[in-house]
C-alpha cells in the first residue's frame, strides 16, 4: 500500500452518516419505507382486475387513472392499501365508544381479558410445576419427558374440543377461553423455568452446601435469581401463545365478541378491510403486551445490577 494520508478530517456529510442515531435507525426506516412502497404497488396490482371489472359491469367510462384511484379505495379489495387499513383502524378504535359492540377496543378487551387470565393461571401453574420438578427427582424423570413431548404436539388443535366439552358442562364465555390460553402457555413456562432453576453453576450449589443452606434458602437465594432471565424469556413466549390461544378459541363456536370473532366475521362477509384492522389490532395487542414485559424485565434487571 502506497502512502496516503487517510486523514481523520471527515466532510460534513460523512459526519451526518456516522451519527449514531442515524446509523441506528436509518436501516429500519429504509426497510419499512421500502415495504410500504412494495405494499402499495402490490395493492394496485392485485386490485386492478377487481376494479376494472366493476367499472365494466357498471358500464361507466373509465381511464387508467380512474382504475388507479379505484384500487386505493375499493370496498372489498383483495389487498387493501395501507391508508385504507389505517383509516378503518382509527375509525374502529376512536369512532365508537369503547364498549360498543362495533368498537375494536371492545373486541380487543374481550380477547385481552381471556389472554391475561389464561396467562396468569398458566404462569402460576407452570412455575409451580417447575418447582416441583426441580425438587423431586422422581417427578423429573417421570413427568418432564412427557412435558417435553407435549411441546411437539399441536396443542392449539385441541381448542375446539375444549370449547365444546366445557360448553357441554355449562362453562361458556371467558372461562373456557382462559383455560385454553392457560393450558397453552403453561408448558413453555414450565420448561423454561425448569431450565432456569437448574441453570446455576454446580460450583455455586456446592458453595451453598458448604454453608449448610436448606433447600428453601438455596431456592430463594440462588435458583430464583438465576432463573430470572429464563422467566422473562418464557413469559414473552407465553403471552404471545396465550393471545393466539384466546383468538383461536373464539373460532369454533362462532363467538360474537373478540378479535377472533372479528376475523371470522370479516372473512365470512368479505369485509377485507375490517379483517386487516382486526389483524392490526392483534399485532398492537401482542406488541404492547411484550413491551410491558420487556419494561418490567428491564426494571428488574436494573434492580439486580445489570448494566
Amino acid at each position: 500500500m502506497t502512502s496516503s494520508s487517510l486523514a481523520l478530517a471527515p466532510s460534513s456529510a460523512r459526519t451526518l452518516a456516522r451519527h449514531p442515531l442515524v446509523e441506528r435507525y436509518a436501516p429500519i426506516l429504509t426497510t419499512v419505507l421500502a415495504l410500504v412502497a412494495i405494499w402499495y404497488i402490490a395493492a394496485v396490482a392485485m386490485n386492478w382486475t377487481l376494479v376494472k371489472d366493476s367499472f365494466e359491469r357498471e358500464e361507466t367510462p373509465y381511464t387508467v387513472s380512474d382504475i388507479l384511484a379505484g384500487t386505493m379505495d375499493a370496498e372489498r379489495p383483495l389487498l387493501p392499501a395501507p391508508h385504507q387499513i389505517a383509516e378503518n383502524f382509527f375509525d374502529s378504535v376512536f369512532g365508537y365508544p369503547p364498549l360498543a359492540p362495533r368498537s375494536l377496543v371492545y373486541h380487543s378487551l374481550v380477547t385481552l381479558s381471556a389472554t391475561l387470565l389464561g396467562f396468569v393461571l398458566g404462569a402460576i401453574f407452570g412455575i409451580v410445576l417447575a418447582l416441583m420438578i426441580v425438587h423431586s427427582r422422581v417427578l423429573e424423570r417421570s413427568l418432564l419427558p412427557w412435558i417435553i413431548c407435549s411441546q411437539m404436539v399441536p396443542i392449539l388443535a385441541l381448542a375446539p374440543i375444549f370449547i365444546v366439552v366445557l360448553g357441554a358442562i355449562g362453562l361458556q364465555g371467558l372461562l373456557p377461553k382462559a383455560i385454553i390460553s392457560a393450558y397453552l402457555c403453561f408448558f413453555p413456562i414450565a420448561i423454561g423455568m425448569v431450565k432456569g432453576f437448574t441453570s446455576p453453576d454446580p460450583l455455586q450449589i456446592e458453595l451453598m452446601r458448604t454453608w449448610s443452606a436448606t433447600p428453601r434458602q438455596v431456592l430463594w437465594k440462588l435458583r430464583w435469581p438465576a432463573a430470572v432471565p429464563f422467566l422473562f424469556a418464557s413469559l414473552k413466549v407465553a403471552i404471545t401463545i396465550s393471545l393466539i390461544g384466546a383468538i383461536v378459541a373464539e373460532l369454533p363456536t362462532g363467538a360474537e365478541a373478540g378479535i377472533g370473532a372479528r376475523l371470522l366475521a370479516g372473512s365470512y362477509y368479505g369485509q377485507t378491510v375490517q379483517l386487516w384492522s382486526a389483524l392490526v389490532a392483534s399485532a398492537v395487542l401482542s406488541w404492547g403486551l411484550i413491551s410491558i414485559i420487556s419494561l418490567i424485565e428491564r426494571g428488574v434487571n436494573r434492580g439486580m445490577g445489570a448494566r
Binding site: A26, P27, I28, L29, T30, T31, V32, L35, L78, R137, V138, E140, R141, S142, L143, L144, P145, W146, C149, Q151, M152, V153, P154, I155, L156, A157, L158, P160, I161, I163, V164, V165, A168, I169, K236, T240, L243, I244, I247, V248, L251, P252, I259, G260, L263, L264, G266, S267, T272, L275, W276, A278, L279, S282, A283, S286, W287, I290
Partner: protein
C-alpha cells in the same frame, strides 16, 4: 427411595387387594371369589406384592411390576362385565388402587435409582416416563369405564384407539391433506425463504440491520390470523394453508439464521481473509456450517409451528378433508372419539416430524459443544 416407604406402600397394596375379596365389586354383584380365574390372579398379585415388600429394594421391582400388571389386567377384565362397568363399587376400586399403588411405588423406586453405567441409565430414563404414562392411561381407562363417563364428554383410551384403527382411510386422507400438502410444502418454502433472505441480509449489512428488528417484531405476532386472507387469495384448498405455514415459519428462521450467520468467530473470519477467500467460499466453508446449530433450532421450532399453523388455518375454512377440518366438524357433532383420534394423529405426526428434524440435527451438528458434555 427409603426401603421402609417402599415396603409400606407395597403392604398397603396387599391390604387393598385383600379388601377386594371382601367388599362388593358393584352394587348387588357377587364377590370376587365367585369369579373363576379372576380371584386366582388377584391372589397371585397379592403374593407378588408381599414378595416385593419383603425385598424392599431393587429386587422387588420385578415382582412389584408383575403384580401391578396382573392386578391391572384383572380390573380391565372385570370391566367387561356390563354389571360392573358404570357402577363399580369399593371392591373394584380396591383392585385399581392396588395396581396404581404398586406401579407408583415401583416407578418411584426406579426413578430414584442411581447408576453410573450409561446403558442402564438410558434404560431407566426411558422406562420411567413410559411406565408413568402407562399408569396414567390405565387410570384414565378404568375411571372412564368404571364411573360410566358419557363418551361424549371423555372417551376411554381404548375407545379412542379402536376408533383410530377403524377410521384409518379417513385419517390417511386428512394426514395427506394437512401434513403432506399443507405442512411440508409450506415448511419448505418458509424455511428456505427465511434462510435465503438471511444470507442476503448477512451479505448486505444495511439490509440485515433493517430486517432483524422487523423479523423480531413479526415473529411475535399471531400470524395464524392471516389465514382468512390467505383463503381469499389462494382459495379454500391446501395452497392457502401452505401459504400460512410458509409465513409462520419464515420469521423464526430469518431471525435465527441471521443470528447464526454472525456466530462465526473473529479469528476464523480473519483466517479466511488471510486466504483471500471469496464471499461465496466464506459462506459455504465458514458461515453456513457455523450457523447450523441456530438453523436447526429454528427448524425444530418451525416443525411445531407449521403443524399448528396448518391445523388452525383449517379452522377458518377448508374443503372436505384435513385434520383441522375434521376436528372442528366432529367436535360440532359431539363425536369426540373421532376428535381424539385426529388429535392422536396430529400428535404422532408432530412427534415424528420433530424427531426426524432432531435426528438430522444430530447428524450434521455432532461437533457442537452441547453434544460433548
Amino acid at each position: 427411595m427409603d426401603p421402609r416407604k417402599f415396603r409400606l406402600g407395597l403392604l398397603f397394596a396387599v391390604a387393598a387387594i385383600t379388601l377386594a375379596f371382601v367388599a362388593p365389586l358393584a352394587h348387588g354383584e357377587p364377590m370376587l371369589l365367585l369369579r373363576p380365574g379372576r380371584w386366582q390372579a388377584a391372589t397371585g398379585a397379592g403374593v407378588l406384592f408381599a414378595l416385593a415388600a419383603w425385598f424392599a429394594d431393587w429386587r422387588g421391582l420385578a415382582p412389584g411390576l408383575a403384580g401391578a400388571i396382573i392386578a391391572a389386567a384383572v380390573s380391565l377384565l372385570l370391566l367387561r362385565d356390563p354389571a360392573i362397568a358404570g357402577s363399580a363399587a369399593a371392591g373394584f376400586w380396591a383392585i385399581v388402587v392396588t395396581a396404581w399403588l404398586a406401579a407408583a411405588m415401583c416407578v418411584t423406586h426406579l426413578a430414584s435409582l442411581r447408576t453410573i453405567r450409561k446403558q442402564r441409565k438410558r434404560m431407566i430414563n426411558i422406562a420411567v416416563p413410559l411406565l408413568f404414562g402407562a399408569t396414567i392411561f390405565y387410570l384414565w381407562e378404568v375411571a372412564v369405564r368404571g364411573f360410566g363417563v358419557p363418551p361424549v364428554l371423555l372417551p376411554s383410551p381404548s375407545a379412542a384407539a379402536s376408533r383410530f384403527l377403524s377410521s384409518l382411510p379417513t385419517l390417511a386422507a386428512d394426514f395427506n391433506q394437512t401434513f403432506i400438502r399443507g405442512v411440508l410444502i409450506g415448511y419448505a418454502i418458509g424455511c428456505g425463504a427465511g434462510l435465503l433472505v438471511a444470507i442476503l441480509a448477512h451479505r448486505f449489512e444495511f439490509l440485515g440491520r433493517g430486517l432483524l428488528p422487523l423479523g423480531n417484531f413479526f415473529s411475535a405476532l399471531p400470524l395464524v390470523g392471516i389465514a382468512p386472507i390467505m383463503v381469499m387469495w389462494f382459495g379454500f384448498d391446501w395452497p392457502s394453508k401452505a401459504a400460512v405455514v410458509a409465513l409462520v415459519t419464515f420469521f423464526p428462521m430469518l431471525v435465527n439464521a441471521i443470528a447464526g450467520l454472525s456466530a462465526a468467530g473473529h479469528i476464523e473470519r480473519d483466517l479466511l481473509r488471510s486466504y483471500a477467500a471469496s464471499h461465496r467460499q466464506s459462506l459455504t466453508k465458514l458461515y453456513l456450517p457455523a450457523a447450523l446449530p441456530f438453523i436447526f433450532n429454528a427448524l425444530k421450532i418451525n416443525a411445531t409451528l407449521a403443524l399448528i399453523g396448518a391445523i388452525v388455518a383449517e379452522f377458518f375454512g377448508t374443503p372436505t378433508q384435513g385434520i383441522g377440518f375434521r376436528i372442528s366438524t366432529e367436535a360440532g357433532r359431539m363425536a369426540l372419539d373421532m376428535v381424539w383420534a385426529e388429535i392422536a394423529l396430529a400428535a404422532l405426526a408432530g412427534m415424528a416430524f420433530y424427531g426426524f428434524v432432531t435426528l438430522a440435527e444430530r447428524a450434521t451438528t455432532f461437533w457442537h459443544p452441547s453434544y460433548r458434555t
